[in-house]
Symmetry: C2
Subunit: 115 residues, 2 copies
DNA sequence: TGTCCATCCCTTGCGCTTCTAGGCATCTTC
DNA sequence: GAAGATGCCTAGAAGCGCAAGGGATGGACA
């Protein structure tokens, strides 16, 4: 509801995908749905962003994929985290944490108008 | 210290610049220094990112500039926030808040390995 | 049977931002 | 007068997200 449509900053999509896959192996289509649900509609991942990102992460060795059947009886490409991918997730999550703290400090600066 | 060198996600630089200028009119060179100081070295803005961003924000009407003398007696281009820019700052700050909350929800999902 | 919708995969091309790597000028300090 | 800090700028490359396309399958419904 109230789909605010916030474009993702460059680089954050990888983090979100890695996290989604870390919870349990899933296929691409489900990743997008899950991210949207968990974020309450704030994060929306169009397929034109999703699949290139998945291939990117696979090429870099962070993800690996197998074709399996979904619950609905369809063939789908299930991604899972490699050891390297899990490490990358930790690194990126830490970077993200550091970043939002830093930006928090900046946004917390006393404003000229208010206080 | 411990300059971690974290590249900024696309779009966040504008927010940081708008905020820095909102505190008080400053020139470009000082913006970079201020952001780095306040963020304790986490946010580092190379000049090749800074000046194009400033021109971008000026072209969009969010910033206005005047040449003045600095404390050190030099001519420098002081940027200040326009009314439109202040509104933009509020919008972007709110978006940022919404985004980090959403990503927080996602990163808080129970992991497959730990929890 | 035929049609529609949801599920599931993919690619091309554009637009945007960031960074690297330069250049230029002034002022102070040694 | 050489060096470093201050202060501005640009061009080019690289990367990423998105819109807009395409295709295939299965179930529901008329």
């Amino acid at each position: 509801m109230a789909a605010v449509k916030s474009d993702l900053p460059q680089g954050t999509l990888d983090l979100l995908i890695l996290k989604a896959v870390a919870v349990e192996p899933v296929h691409g289509y489900a990743i997008a749905q899950r991210l949207e649900q968990v974020s309450r509609g704030v994060v929306q991942v169009p397929e034109g962003s999703l699949y290139p990102a998945l291939h990117r992460l696979e090429n870099r060795g962070f993800l690996a994929a197998d074709w399996k059947k979904t619950e609905t009886g369809r063939e789908a490409k299930f991604y899972r985290l490699t050891r390297k991918g899990r490490k990358q997730l930790e690194t990126e999550a830490a970077s993200w944490q550091r970043l939002i703290e830093a930006i928090g400090l900046i946004l917390g600066m006393a404003d000229g108008g208010a206080q």
